[in-house]
Symmetry: none
Subunit: 245 residues, 2 copies
């Protein structure tokens, strides 16, 4: 896998969950972090029971064990040079509201220099205006106007994916080698044999049917292996057809 962020850069992101209520969401956030290579989870004013339950989650257990608890956002982001909030609806957020695609680019650039905090609000209300006031700007996942609000665990997954997502299109695998004409001809002959023996080819239209078959086989653009496989199959069919004659 080609990494867009270096290990040092991955290590500089702090995922901050503010007032999470549901242990499953805390666990899901941790799992997505582990999937994409981020390590620092911080929770602010987590509902105590939720946090304890989440810690017992099987997946990403070590990441959860190292998660840090804070009672204020100020403390949770104290070591960061950029603080970004996530918001569904347009809120009275300070600074610009950026679409995720663009926001992620700016975060990546900043991660080269120093720690960045990415804040997610509680399941019900998101980040409050008070909480957003700690952020330099906010980022919005491009959901539909009619259903803006995402599940917390899914929102974390989508944001982290965008951060590690590769912008450069992967080189498309070069077209598979095609079967050579001789191999294609061999397949054509055995298919024609089956069609003649079974009565598909009529004497009156034999020439045009043969052309049709030849063109069809060429359109298949078979690899050498597939041409051989199909030829073997049809040979068996022909053998059976002839043995019944």
């Amino acid at each position: 896998m080609m990494l867009l962020l270096s290990p040092a850069e991955l290590d500089r992101l702090r995922v901050v969950l503010v007032r999470p209520r549901n242990p499953l969401n805390i666990g899901a956030a941790a799992r997505a972090m582990s999937n994409f290579g981020f390590v620092h989870l911080r929770v602010v004013n987590a509902y105590e029971v939720a946090f304890r339950e989440a810690r017992s989650a099987m997946r990403a257990a070590s990441l959860l064990k190292r998660a840090q608890q804070f009672s204020t956002i100020a403390e949770a982001v104290a070591d960061c040079s950029l603080i970004v909030g996530t918001a569904g609806r347009d809120s009275e957020a300070p600074g610009p509201v950026r679409r995720l695609e663009q926001g992620a680019r700016l975060i990546r650039a900043q991660l080269a220099n120093g720690p960045v905090a990415l804040l997610f609000g509680s399941e019900k209300t998101g980040l409050s205006n008070e909480e957003l006031s700690y952020c330099h700007w906010t980022m919005r996942i491009p959901t539909r106007e009619e259903h803006v609000s995402m599940n917390l665990g899914q929102a974390v997954a989508v944001c982290l994916y965008e951060l590690i997502r590769s912008g450069r299109a992967e080189p498309v695998r070069s077209a598979a080698t095609c079967a050579r004409a001789a191999e294609v001809d061999r397949l054509t002959e055995v298919l024609l044999d089956a069609l003649r023996t079974s009565g598909y080819v009529k004497a009156r239209t034999a020439a045009s049917t043969e052309q049709k078959v030849r063109r069809l086989v060429r359109r298949l653009k078979l690899t050498p292996a597939d041409a051989e496989l199909l030829t073997g199959m049809l040979r068996q069919v022909c053998w059976k057809l002839h043995s019944a004659d």
Copy 2:
């Protein structure tokens, strides 16, 4: 919000959950679909209780109510011309395994022409090789090698996000109209009939041979006309084989 996919294109995606076990995940998949504007949810062999419980989920309730249940993958994807599986680890998947960024581009291009099915496997095992044999190719979310497996609801969210994500999409060669799964299935069945009758399929290895045949037929990437042509040819061959019995 600038839309990358038109409403008609959004309407052509079928999100197919195969053997989902956890109602929360079915609900989470539906919610992500609603967030990003997709509407057609299909479940194959859902654990019955899970499906019933998921239907009572508060979010995306109407989408869940319209979700369709199927007992086989073949039925669930019958109207689709492109079937894409999602896979964590490298499996014996047919066709190429593409990174999500690249796969999503190809899916978007195909959505301009016809319905596309995007398959997600069960929480524990993902898609089996048998299930993957229905897919033209597979797509992989670029997670870390050390923690490949994503939560189902999060995987759905990330894949759908990538589909609607903005970014100058490079012009993708418009995919030729492909035969629908039902047409490909018909061809597969008649080819299998010929191979069984002629003795190519051995009882001991019948299951793996059938998978091999299914994958082969999908690799051919037939147009609807060619699928019909080849099916007609093989029908005649089968007729002759049976009449000789």
